[in-house]
Amino acid sequence: MIDPAGLASHASPAFLADKVIAMTSAISSRALPYLGYGLGLRVEHYEALLANPGKVQWLEIVSENYMVDGGLPLVWLDRFRERFPLVMHGVSLSIGSTDPLDEDYLARLAALAERVEPAWVSDHLCWTGVQGINLHDLMPLPYTEEALDHVVSRVLRVQDRLKRRILLENVSSYVSFADSQLTEWEFIAAVAERADCLILLDVNNVHVSAQNHSFSSLDYLRGIPPSRVQQFHLAGYEQGEKLIIDTHDAPVSNAVWDLYIEAVRRFGRVSTMIERDDNFPPLSELMSELDHARALAEPLLRDAA
């Protein structure tokens, strides 16, 4: 049943429509599995990973890399699908854009999800373009009630289209907006609660944005509801002249490892992966980083148990 008290504070027609969509959709609210410790799948490591998967328990693919008609990308995808649990991570959903949702994109994403049968599908809490132009970047949103209503309504529509709950990742940002009324963590928590979606918490991105905007990364973690966190990303950054730049092309920093410990303490057992997007080291280096994550998290989880 629709809760009238809940509606009173969000009485916009858009919100009412969202609520109806949410209540009539066939989206499963079943808990998603815990996958352990994984890596982002990149071409540079295809052969090494199949030859020696080591202790890598699952892989995250970049959805757009496989939203193609045929050829080698899909051959590799099928090989990995036979060997590993996969999750899909997109960069082009543009959930915060004021352009209409791209139906062609959603159709291709849905078709890929049908082929891959991933444990889950994620993208970023951001916008990537507007007026039909794509910036191919994870552009931050102003944290306003207007943006919140807008994003929630679109997440509900995407989840309805994909017939599954999605995960949204916090992005690193370099700008903040004079109009913002909420903190970033209040905003992402509100999106998750109102749209009934999940959170992919990029621990590196929390650190980068905290440094760039002078907020406490611990306050951030404390503001995120544990029940919504389904996945962690760990990555590296580059110290710029004034700002920290999220390059995802370096080893995980000590500051991010420290924050990861705090995240494990707060959120418990969460599927964790190392995400490297450039300056690729040998696979063994990423496996060592993954071992380090395991070595930090498992004693805490055992103690907690």
Binding site: E64, M67, V68, D69, G70, G71, L72, P73, L74, V75, S92, S94, S97, T98, D102, Y105, W127, T128, G129, V130, Q131, G132, I133, N134, L135, H136, D137, M139, L141, P142, T144, E146, A147, H150, Y174, V175, S176, F177, A178, D179, N212, H213, S214, G240, K242, L243, I245
Partner: protein, 259 residues
Amino acid sequence: MSSLQSIQQQMLQAVLADRAAKLRAIRSDEIAGAEDRLSVYHHGYRVRLHDALKNEFTGLQCMAGRRFHALLDSYVKVHPSEHYNIRWYGADLPSFLDETQPWCDKPQLAEIAYVDWAISTAFDAEDERSIGMGDLSAVPPNAWANLRLSMQKHLRVLTVSHNVGAFRRAADAGAKRPRLRRFTRARQILVWRKETTVHYRTLDRDEWHVLSAALEGDTFAAMCGRLANHHDEAAAMSRMVLLLQRWLEAGLIHGWATD
């Protein structure tokens, strides 16, 4: 217009502008001013588009050398990306080079760009079945005259006036840049994919004429007729058999039909 729309449109214009600007909607603080903050996105936009083009146009990079960066700059400046997947950003680069000064003064640049893009699109084109010699043995002897071949949809034939294939081969092999040569007569480069590997080669003149007939949906009799312009009757028949074998082995033929 909503304030969210307004902010997004302002940021879009600021990123696309030649120089990073200052926006009132963005906060400045003691760490960095709004202009410095916005410049991260302004710079990142160009780096990402350049990287995407470098991945797809390796032959062009080999040919353009030190001018490659300026060439990409001029394309990025007038071509915002309209596709959600950055993989498609280079689709208009070949025609841009064909039509835009000063690049169109050197037509070899557009020629190699078309070849690069054909290779790129063949790489992840739709998978299609290829027929073999065994499939063609099912064609009844009296039906061969009216046999029509359907070729792989991703197959491309590109006309070039320069030795652009040598530049792509050099790029693929990480070899030294070859000398540019202009042909006395235009040639055709065939680009296709067999299973998961993309190939390219220069077509013989008679092969191009016969392949064109096949691509246009002509009958086997018409294809043989085109060969008759190059060879006497006996030589034409043996040449046709040779070409057919070559195409079958290369996986160029998707299927066949008779009238």
